[in-house]
């Protein structure tokens, strides 16, 4: 057990650090973890989640989910909600890759149909979706269009024949978060972003062909609601964000916020926790720019999906509609949003920061799209490229306990350098092929850095969140083909 003064167990898989732990803590810090995950959690998480608990206007708790690890200012896997009047907004609570997120589409193909053509399919997607350093868009959007695109998000795509009719409703916030203002975005961000629509990026971003794991087809009845009816059905998962557009917006505002904090007399325990009142002009400006980046990311993933549909059509000689390639869902996991939540007996708007955390709204919530209203919002948790991923659903308990939030992935435990020292990219590629996963990577170094051993066991993370009752397991997905940025 980590030696954290005063930490107490509040349930089988949740722990609380009281405000007496650190001077300035306004609320407790809540950590979701099994005993094993807690013992292995890096100590930076405890320091950072308690630093977040000191921020002005935070309500109820600062949270670290089961996948938490050290991040800039906020831990990755961190959630915090702030009063819209007395509270703050923090670019460090969102992250550089604004609306980095996950998108899952289904097919009606079975693994026996796809595996013989997996190399052809993955190689074709690799030619259609630009990946890695310096990847440029083939879309050819003009700078004059970026205001409309980032204001309307996936709705813009639908209006321009870049989305199916039912795509927008299967995206968090309908693929269009309100409040975007391109006037609050720098020229540099626009220049970085305009040529990157439809690109995957690098780092831990990936595009994966997956199959439902027959041994972990956990809730077939719930799975049916997502059109998942076979225990060997093929899916496609995409993990990426807002590219240079979002990165530059975060850079710009982090810089502005540092000087702004002096004016507002705000002191924070870590430079990366720079924050300003949400109600201030600067706070509102960041929010408007950040929303532009969030909508950019929705469009980015939409364009990639279009390319994936095209690749399946060309490989299997059937229309994407005939292959039932509908979007199951698209979730953000680096975001700040104004949401209405109930706490302390009243219902209030709060600014929920989810940094490496996923929205997990339960059944009946007005923001859960109609097809999923009775079962809860789909939650997509991406694992390492060797170990697979999970589809879950949100719960009412998440609404009550965590401002409707859960984990986002497996969480890194090994540095990039250490991973490269442990395995060579070419060896890993060969090993994965032997395990039935065909990988196409932009770089062999980048591949080695993302080896499964560099991450926590995703099943432990998912099991923890399931036992905590703040999301519910539906199916596990294992990779058969992977494109690594």
């Amino acid at each position: 057990m980590k030696s954290v003064e005063g930490i107490k167990q509040v349930s089988e898989v949740s722990w609380e650090i009281p405000p007496s732990f650190k001077q300035g803590m306004k609320v407790p810090a809540r950590i979701y973890a099994s005993k094993t995950l807690l013992e292995n959690m890096d100590s930076g998480v405890f320091d950072q989640v308690t630093n977040v608990a000191c921020l002005p206007g935070i309500v109820r708790c600062a949270y670290a989910m089961a996948d938490a690890h050290w991040g800039y200012g906020f831990p990755i896997g961190g959630v915090a909600a702030f009063d819209t009047e007395k509270g703050v907004i923090s670019p460090g609570g969102v992250g550089f890759d604004v609306n980095c997120g996950m998108r899952l589409i289904r097919t009606n193909l079975r693994v026996s149909e796809v595996r013989p053509r997996i190399k052809e399919l993955v190689d074709l997607i690799y030619t259609l979706v630009p990946v890695g350093v310096g990847a440029r868009s083939a879309q050819g959007f003009a700078e004059s269009q970026i205001g409309d695109i980032t204001s309307l998000g996936v709705r813009w795509c639908a209006e321009h024949d870049l989305a199916w009719d039912d795509d927008p409703e299967h995206v968090e916030e309908g693929g269009c978060i309100k409040g975007a203002d391109i006037g609050k975005v720098s020229r540099e961000a626009i220049k970085r972003g305009i040529n990157q629509f439809g690109t995957l990026g690098s780092g831990n971003h990936y595009l994966e062909i997956q199959v439902v794991d027959p041994e972990r087809f956990l809730d077939p009845e719930l799975a049916k609601q997502f059109g998942i009816v076979h225990d060997d059905q093929v899916m496609v998962m995409i993990h990426c964000g807002s590219r240079g557009f979002g990165h530059q917006i975060c850079t710009d505002y982090l810089r502005n916020f540092e000087s702004g904090m002096r004016r507002f007399g705000i002191q924070v325990r870590d430079r990366d926790l720079a924050c300003l009142p949400f109600s201030s002009k600067e706070g509102k400006d960041y929010y408007s720019a950040m929303v532009c980046a969030a909508n950019y990311a929705f469009v980015n993933r939409q364009i990639i999906v279009n390319k994936v549909r095209e690749a399946f059509q060309r490989t299997f000689h059937k229309e994407a509609e005939a292959l039932d390639m509908h979007l199951i869902y698209d979730v953000c996991h680096n975001i700040a949003k104004v949401e209405r939540h109930s706490y302390d007996g009243s219902s209030m708007d709060v600014v929920v920061h989810r940094k490496g955390a996923t929205r997990s709204f339960g059944p009946g919530h007005p923001d859960v799209p109609k097809p999923y209203k009775s079962i809860g919002q789909p939650v997509i948790i991406g694992g390492s490229m060797e170990t697979g991923s999970y589809l879950l659903v949100g719960t009412q308990k998440a609404m009550e306990e965590t401002f409707g939030s859960t984990a986002h992935g497996s969480g890194r435990t090994m540095s990039r350098t250490a991973a490269k020292r442990s395995v060579r990219g070419s060896e890993l590629q060969e090993r994965m092929l032997q395990h039935g996963i065909y990988v196409k990577a932009a770089t062999m170094d980048g591949l080695a850095e993302e080896a499964g051993m560099a991450y926590k066991d995703i099943s432990q993370v998912v099991e923890t969140m399931h036992r905590a009752g703040i999301s519910k397991k539906v199916v596990a997905l294992r990779p058969i083909g992977n494109i690594k940025g």
């Binding site: 800039y72 550089f96 350093v133 310096g134 220049k191 690098s202 770089t443 170094d445």
Partner: protein, 140 residues
């Protein structure tokens, strides 16, 4: 070794420490470190020259803005540089850099990680005796 990578800092990202005998050279080493993160510099030719002019409110910020400018150019002009010659203004608040490199060639360049941004984590310039040092943590 002018640039030393720090594997135990920022697990998901890349950190390095640059060391130099002068502030001017320190800026050049920090820029070379950034290049090393993104590409094997041996595979980049000096085919295109650019002159970068950057100014900021202090020397720390100048380094931050200089590295950010290089990241912006990677995305906007698809250019990666392999060599840098920096001239610092007397007040340490401005610089002119002659940078040489070339447009990204995915066939020929041994590309590595796409640097998203320079972070504030551990960021700063410090002088230790006759040596100048800076720690840079890049978001990947």
């Amino acid at each position: 070794m002018p640039v030393k990578f720090l594997p135990d800092v920022a697990l998901a990202d890349v950190a390095y420490e640059a060391t130099a005998s002068s502030l001017q050279v320190l800026f050049e080493e920090c820029a070379r470190g950034l290049t090393e993160v993104m590409v094997d510099p041996k595979t980049v030719r000096a085919r295109e020259k650019r002159t970068l002019r950057v100014s900021s409110e202090d020397t720390d910020r100048l380094l931050y803005d200089f590295l950010t400018e290089l990241i912006i150019l990677k995305d906007t002009d698809s250019i990666l540089f392999k060599s840098y010659s920096v001239k610092l203004g007397k007040d340490g608040k401005s610089l002119v850099c002659a940078a040489s490199g070339e447009v990204i060639d995915r066939e020929r360049h041994d590309l590595r990680n796409d640097a998203k941004a320079v972070t504030m984590h551990l960021f700063g310039i410090r002088q230790e005796g006759m040596t100048w040092k800076a720690t840079i943590v890049l978001d990947i």
